[in-house]
Symmetry: C2
Subunit: 177 residues, 2 copies
């Protein structure tokens, strides 16, 4: 069973990728990853808004930055993590997920700009979430959803100041401030 999930986001162009990288971080957190490493220039705005989510909604994923994606992959490998590269060119998710669920540590590589060819060789698994062009945010979410077998859907976060109380209509929250 997977006990530790790391996300490595390859590339982050501060202006162009701002909202998409932020969505990647939020998905990593909502779907149970331990950490996300954004490879690109340090983005103070991103860190600040993500900290605020962890503060209000409960401590989830930690956010780190790295200037060198390859060093990050090597580091994860040295820690015993298997590298899962999400790419539309890989082997379909349904054929690989059972095997991946048996790994102890998993590091998931997702792109923004085109990921260098090298990544395909460094990965232990190249996994496609559909064989169509779409979104790294979507691919990450569906992959983690399958990895977690849906357990993330009703997960509670420790230390949350705000918590949703599910409603058929409207919005209800519990607040602890």
């Amino acid at each position: 069973m997977v006990k530790e999930i790391t996300i490595i986001r390859y590339g982050h162009r501060e202006e162009r990728d701002k909202r998409v990288t932020s969505h990647c971080c939020l998905v990593a957190r909502a779907f149970g990853a331990k950490r996300i490493i954004v490879c690109g220039p340090k983005d103070k705005g991103l860190e600040k808004s993500f900290d605020k989510v962890n503060l209000n909604w409960g401590k989830g994923t930690s956010l780190g930055a790295s200037g060198n994606w390859k060093a990050e992959i090597r580091k994860q490998k040295a820690r015993g993590a298997k590298i899962v590269h999400l790419t539309m060119y890989g082997i379909p998710l349904g054929r690989q997920i059972e095997k991946i669920r048996k790994e102890k540590k998993v590091a998931v590589l997702i792109g923004s700009q085109k990921v260098p060819r090298e990544a395909y060789g460094l990965a232990d698994y190249n996994v496609s979430v559909t064989m169509q062009p779409h979104s790294e945010v979507a691919a990450l979410a569906v992959f983690l959803h399958e990895l977690m077998q849906g357990k993330e859907l009703e997960a509670k976060f420790r230390g949350a100041k705000i918590e949703v109380v599910p409603q058929e209509r409207g919005k209800k929250t519990k607040k602890r401030f």
Copy 2:
């Protein structure tokens, strides 16, 4: 069984939402929706790049625009579609998906800016994909993945000029030009 899926994207601010709306359109297509209606100003750039994807990768989803999200919902209801509003405040996906799978036509409402309170009342189902703040792109993908029961993962698109040939390492495509 659901035979027709429409996506209604509430709000699209041309500069700020450009890439995220584009991801929504691509996810709608990759995960089997018939159409996506973007409610906001017409965005020629978005249409052009989406047309290109349909042209190269096979005809999937059609993209429409609407100036009035509520009129769009009424129109879908009149056509017999049930409205599914994806919101972190709704009832968790796992508790609702079986019932929704039995509907014939489904229109999925996703936000960008905050969706007006009214939407919660207009919806037949308010559904949460985790109870945490994250991404409408991710919520849409996981919802459609569950609705399709994973059938989208290896779906082929008619008339595709380019098709992925899944590989353990590297990229391979079949091209018909």
